[in-house]
């Protein structure tokens, strides 16, 4: 399965990144590209708990494809969410369930952001996605 175009772009830029500062800058740039959520979407039902930051995940399953929107009040987490969405946008449930997202963040050099001891929330978002994929 080939990578979506945006994901290819993300991979190319993170592969070139040297050092934590450059990765942090890239994360913030990707975070700025996230489509903003409306106030109506920032509701309790879309909250992902288990994070120290506020995180929302809006998921729609349309014609067999997942459409996600996500945001957070924390900036670097918005970047991580943006990178996550580039990889999963438009996938079918079976594809989403079969995808190793840990591998995706490892490719980006961001695997440490996924540790369950990190309270940044990315881990909780992945769990929520796995749940959605399993139930639909």
């Amino acid at each position: 399965m080939s990578l979506p175009v945006q994901a290819q772009e993300a991979l190319a830029s993170f592969e070139l990144a040297r050092g934590w500062e450059q990765r942090a800058r890239l994360l913030m740039q990707w975070g700025d590209r996230l489509e903003p959520l409306s106030e109506a979407e920032k509701v309790e039902a879309n909250r992902v708990h288990g994070c120290e930051s506020l995180v929302w995940l809006v998921a729609e399953h349309v014609e067999g494809q997942w459409r996600f929107k996500a945001s957070s009040d924390a900036r670097l987490l918005r970047g991580l969410l943006a990178l996550l969405l580039t990889r999963v946008q438009g996938l079918a449930s079976a594809e989403l369930a079969g995808l190793d997202l840990r591998e995706w963040f490892t490719q980006l050099g961001l695997e440490r952001q996924l540790s369950p001891s990190r309270s940044n929330g990315l881990h909780a978002v992945l769990l929520r996605m796995a749940e959605l994929a399993a139930n639909c």
Binding site: W20, E21, R23, A24, R25, M28, E52, S53, L54, D73, A74, R75, L76, L77, S119, N120
Partner: protein
């Protein structure tokens, strides 16, 4: 000017962490351990483990002796009248749960439990849940602007219906010492039992439970440079006599029949099952080590580093320190910057601090905050640790702004 820690080399993990480019500033969460503790654990496991209080054989006798010697050391450390007043639990949390269950029979619907607004979840939830089980009123003592319990209001709120006052000695978020003498005296005069959560306080300075005048004093070993899995509950003899047995099983029983049993008094009656033997022995070794240090030198070192920390935070634009920290730690937020983003930047640079709600969600909520960054000091920290933290903070903020 560089301020070294004369005790840094006594903690081998500090050098190991430094080789991994990690600066440890999270001692209020848990501490690194002295070599003396590592040696004691290795000696115990290397020379023959045995269960305590039940075997007639030699290894059992030696283990029991070492285990009970730790109880004596703890009694001496806290200046308790007798070692029988020291109960070993599995942590401060389990000690507080023991109290909330062991005292449950003394409450009637409508009675009150007083806690403060800054309690760690460990000294909030056991009482909150007890209040719900028994239909009691949980009274929350408010804070002043420095982050200390507001004494004037507290003395009004603690009244004849107050059966228990349970408060922290030193706040794990605000770093403030609480006005215990006045609170405890007043609570006693009202006929209430008093519980002091010493989880943070016990680490800084020596505390005399008799002088303090509390009925119960609770702390956990791992924050006092000891091993995890061990908590300590001190109780005044009379207060211990009020506790109902809580957990049941081996060792705490006197006589057992299929349909009834009688139980031992404190301390063993409250130590059901095999206790954390190595941990208790290790804590004893840690206390020996700590007792060998010059208390004044430790206090002066910690006070000076703490000043350095507060000065550095005050020098930086937009930094808001929570409350008026007096000892060991400081929590802060930065205007316009999410604490998770600061935490990310510090983590990337190998600075180990704590970010988030610090197990005190209602306190943070009361301050109108989602979270904060906490820097906390141990006796092994030196001024270079703080320097690295400040450089990392500046670097991170530059990127974020």
């Amino acid at each position: 000017m560089f301020q070294p820690s004369p005790w840094r080399a006594d903690f081998p993990a500090i050098a190991a962490l430094q080789r991994q480019h990690q600066t440890y500033l999270d001692s209020a969460a848990t501490t690194q351990k002295p070599q003396a503790l590592l040696d004691a654990l290795s000696h115990y496991y290397g020379h023959g483990a045995a269960n305590v209080h039940r075997a007639q054989h030699l290894p059992g006798a030696l283990a029991t002796q070492a285990f009970e010697a730790s109880r004596d050391k703890l009694a001496a450390w806290l200046n308790a009248e007798s070692s029988r007043q020291i109960i070993f639990t599995h942590g401060a949390t389990s000690a507080l749960n023991l109290l909330a269950y062991g005292l449950e029979h003394r409450f009637e619907a409508g009675d009150e439990i007083a806690i403060s607004a800054l309690e760690h979840h460990a000294n909030l939830l056991p009482w909150q849940q007890l209040a719900r089980r028994r239909n009691l009123r949980l009274v929350v003592l408010p804070l002043d602007e420095h982050g200390r319990i507001d004494l004037e209001q507290a003395l009004q709120l603690i009244g004849p219906r107050t059966r228990v006052l349970a408060v922290s000695q030193l706040s794990n978020v605000l770093g403030t010492w609480q006005p215990l003498p006045a609170l405890l005296a007043h609570a006693h005069a009202q006929g209430a039992l008093t519980v002091v959560d010493g989880a943070q306080g016990v680490v800084h300075g020596r505390h005399d439970v008799q002088a303090l005048g509390c009925d119960f004093y609770v702390f956990s070993s791992h924050k006092l440079y000891g091993p995890e899995g061990v908590g300590v509950l001190y109780g005044r003899s009379q207060a211990l006599g009020l506790l109902r047995h809580w957990q049941f099983g081996g060792e705490m029983v006197q006589l057992a029949d299929y349909h009834s049993a009688s139980f031992r008094p404190a301390p063993l009656g409250f130590e059901a099952g095999t206790p954390p033997i190595a941990g208790v022995i290790g804590l004893g070794a840690t206390l020996d080590y700590l007792a060998s240090l010059d208390t004044h030198a430790v206090e002066a070192h910690e006070a000076s580093l703490h000043q350095h920390l507060l000065r550095g935070l005050a020098d930086r634009e937009g930094v808001r320190v929570l409350g008026t920290p007096q000892t060991a730690l400081a929590s802060f937020v930065i205007d316009g910057v999410h604490n998770a983003d600061i935490a990310h930047m510090l983590t990337e640079q190998g600075i180990a601090v704590r970010a988030g709600h610090h197990c005190a969600m209602p306190l943070l909520k009361g301050l109108g905050l989602e979270g904060a960054i906490r820097v906390s000091l141990g006796l092994y920290n030196d001024s270079d640790d703080l320097q690295r933290f400040f450089e990392a903070l500046d670097q991170g903020l530059e990127l974020l702004r």
